[in-house]
């Protein structure tokens, strides 16, 4: 049937600047540009353009501009262009509309309504350039108290501490599954984490054996599909994360379209080549909280109780009660993924409508665990749209121990958030497993970019902490006194547990 959908973007080429080098044709993976030899001119198929800017960046003469199609539907604040086009797409295909990356709608973002404190007069700010500023954080279960004995005048520690993860900065790389991204991306993340002293997360697609040597800096994930989960995988990582859900698609399973399942991916995941790798919605052995406890201890038994076990949930309405249950089930780390979390593929309607903002979930989980006297039994890591170091500082002040960055890490190595990850054609070489396009990610350069990002943010965090008069991050953790809200209702302030600016 004829499609009624008009192109979203228009490619404008300045023909005076264009030197017909055809770099744009080579770089575009969506077949947008083509060369017309009769007229000796490069033309574009607007309907294929996804606004990824690969051609814009690589055009040597900056001849290309991508514009939003100026032809608009009649102004309608309720029936947006997106609503109209989605309906037409579904009428043409009968399918569920997929999308990539995180929710892009203008819903409330609480980070931007929270402001940070600085010390003046009564308390000196500290200069991170010259004076020590400590960001090191230990993630894992902490005991209620320490028991000490005196033996021959020496202090001897009797309490045995649970296994911990040590990070030099409270920023970790979020779970990106092997299949959603390719080996080069995983390699860059592993190297950057190792170099900087933090961790990457393998995601639910298993781990390529070539990365086992970075195992000390990898958190291995066990999701409902159990892809790649064997004894070696569990023992090579520094910690194990049970993925119950993720912020981009709470309640439904993982989704890797068949286009991205190559030989390598099929081998690691142990499924046929070209098949959709769908992780089921629930773990089929976790139907109740006591089942979660059963899996946590199965993993601890399988690794001889040497590694922390984390449990990741999406931020939903009763996250606080669930988190409380997770602690009592034996988790060492709780991971909360807010609704701005990104994904390689998710139904758009779920990405944009299910879940709650991470700021609110974090505040209520942290408060609930304190009310029950069990906050020390876990560390909390949050994720879901952490865009800059200020978001990190605000998160820690609200109560998190550390944050995971996913989107930010990918943007650092080239992503422009065009939201087409599920096609497997990412022209930046990130969200693709095509061996040819994957070469566009040079692991050495990508590693450099990621380390640079971590270094830049860590320094900014130190600056902000110094400004507050704090020189050790544990003094910022849960310290809501250093936050004030603006433009928030009483209920929002109450849930976030912060005062209004001016109070």
């Amino acid at each position: 049937m004829k499609s009624y959908i008009e192109p979203e973007f228009i490619v404008e080429r300045d023909n005076e600047k264009c030197i017909r080098c055809k770099v744009c044709i080579n770089q575009c993976t969506y077949d947008t540009h083509y060369y017309d030899p009769e007229d000796d001119v490069v033309r574009s198929r607007d309907e294929n353009c996804v606004n990824c800017h690969r051609c814009v960046v690589f055009c040597p003469t900056k001849a290309i501009t991508i514009k939003k199609n100026p032809t608009q539907y009649t102004e309608n604040w309720y029936w947006t262009r997106e609503n109209i086009v989605d309906i037409k797409k579904q009428a043409e295909s009968g399918g569920v509309i997929l999308t990539g990356m995180g929710c892009d709608k203008p819903y409330y973002t609480y980070w931007d309504k929270i402001l940070l404190n600085a010390s003046q007069v009564t308390n000196p700010s500290i200069d991170p350039l010259r004076e020590p500023m400590e960001l090191r954080t230990y993630l894992g279960a902490k005991p209620d108290k320490l028991e000490i004995e005196m033996e021959n005048g020496d202090v001897v520690l009797k309490t045995k501490l649970a296994p911990q993860l040590c990070v030099e900065t409270p920023i970790l790389f979020a779970a990106l599954s092997y299949g959603a991204v390719n080996f080069n991306v995983h390699l860059a993340l592993a190297r950057a984490a190792t170099e900087f002293g933090t961790f990457m997360n393998s995601g639910e697609g298993g781990l390529d054996p070539r990365l086992y040597k970075y195992g000390d800096h990898i958190i291995v994930q066990v999701a409902s599909g159990r892809f790649g989960v064997g004894l070696e995988y569990l023992n090579v990582g520094a910690a194990i994360e049970i993925k119950i859900g993720q912020g981009a698609k709470p309640g439904i399973g993982g989704h890797l379209p068949g286009e991205k399942v190559t030989q390598e991916i099929a081998r690691t995941r142990m499924i046929p080549v070209g098949t959709d790798a769908l992780s089921p919605a629930p773990h089929h052995d976790i139907y109740s909280i006591e089942d979660l406890r059963q899996l946590i201890f199965a993993l601890k038994e399988a690794t001889d109780y040497t590694k922390p076990v984390a449990v990741k949930i999406a931020a939903v309405h009763n996250s606080a009660a669930i988190a409380s249950g997770m602690v009592r089930a034996g988790a060492d780390i709780i991971v909360l993924d807010g609704f701005r979390g990104a994904t390689g593929a998710a139904p758009k309607v779920i990405r944009d409508n299910v879940g709650i903002p991470i700021e609110l979930a974090l505040a209520s989980v942290d408060q609930r665990l304190r009310d029950e006297g069990i906050r020390n039994k876990v560390s909390i890591i949050i994720s879901g749209g952490i865009r800059n170091s200020a978001d990190v500082v605000k998160a820690i002040a609200l109560g998190a121990d550390a944050v995971y960055i996913g989107t930010a890490a990918l943007v650092a190595i080239g992503c422009t958030l065009c939201q087409k990850c599920y096609t497997g054609k990412c022209p930046w070489g990130i969200a693709t497993t095509d061996p040819w396009i994957s070469k566009r990610i040079n692991p050495d350069i990508a590693t450099r970019r990621l380390v640079n990002l971590l270094r830049a943010w860590s320094f900014e965090i130190k600056e902000m902490m110094g400004g507050m008069g704090i020189n050790a991050i544990e003094s910022l953790r849960g310290n809501r006194e250093h936050l004030r809200g603006v433009g928030l209702t009483d209920t929002e302030l109450k849930i976030l547990g912060i005062k209004m600016a001016g109070e």
């Binding site: 068949g258 995941r269 142990m270």
Partner: protein, 264 residues
């Protein structure tokens, strides 16, 4: 063996309940917490060839994380997640097992002289499980295979709903030996979401998932099935000819991308 790593104080002297004779270690598991029992099993698994566990009642994770070729005999009722994440040993259960047998198992064997509960063989990636009697719901969910790693799960009796859900590889066999004459398998949604692997069922089927098609067996199927059932019979003293005379059906997925058109 370092006793200070035991989970908690055992009520009696260790040597009183562990006996070693001719390379066989016998452990009395009465009143023992699963953490202590598994610690003991792991400690003795390396030098011994065989470990016998007596008075087992509800202890979980037996065989979890074990890698070597030890043979373990369980007398009693093991708890949930028997042989979860196991990679090598052979476990004989002289009795019934509970839920989660062979959860994400990598290699090795489990032989159950009785029935199992729900979710047996979940995400199984290799190895073999032989069950003499019936199994519960969700058996063989998301079994996988690659290259030589091809898991096999055989149920002597019948299984319940969602058998082989989401299978991506491996072989699932259900023999229906506990059914009465003319009785059908009650399982519904057999093979729902299947996109790899194969299921062989002996007896009449009630309901299958929409991603599955029923086929007759060809010569290769018969040879494969014969060798599997031969091994099965060797454990349980069934008559292989009687079994092979039954009516077998083969279930395979229509496509490796059953949901290719659902998501756009």
């Amino acid at each position: 063996m370092d006793e200070k790593f035991l989970h908690k104080e055992l009520p009696y002297n260790l040597s009183n309940f562990i006996v070693t004779k001719n390379g066989v270690v016998s452990i009395d598991a009465s009143n023992m917490h699963y953490r202590d029992l598994n610690f003991l099993i792991k400690s003795y698994a390396n030098p011994s060839k065989r470990i016998d566990l007596y008075n087992v009642n509800g202890q979980r994770y037996i065989g979890t994380g074990l890698k070597n070729n030890v043979e373990i005999h369980i007398y009693g009722t093991p708890g949930n997640d028997l042989a979860a994440f196991m990679d090598g040993p052979t476990i004989y259960v002289h009795g019934n097992a509970q839920d989660g047998v062979g959860n994400t198992m990598n290699s090795g064997k489990v032989i159950v002289y009785g029935r199992v509960g729900d979710v047996a063989g979940y995400a199984m990636r290799g190895g073999k499980i032989f069950i003499r009697d019936d199994a519960g719901y969700r058996v063989g969910i998301h079994m996988k295979e690659y290259g030589n790693q091809r898991p096999i799960l055989v149920v002597g009796g019948t299984a319940q709903d969602f058998l082989g859900e989401y299978m991506a590889g491996g072989i699932l066999v259900v023999l229906g030996l506990t059914l009465n004459n003319g009785e059908k398998h009650k399982a519904k949604f057999i093979g729902t979401g299947m996109h790899g692997g194969v299921i062989y069922i002996r007896g009449q089927i009630t309901h299958i998932g929409k991603e599955v098609k029923i086929m007759e067996l060809d010569k290769n199927d018969m040879n494969l099935l014969k060798s599997i059932i031969e091994e099965f019979c060797s454990y349980f003293n069934f008559n292989i000819d009687e079994i092979l005379e039954g009516e077998f059906k083969k279930l395979i997925p229509y496509s490796t991308r059953p949901y290719g058109k659902v998501y756009i």
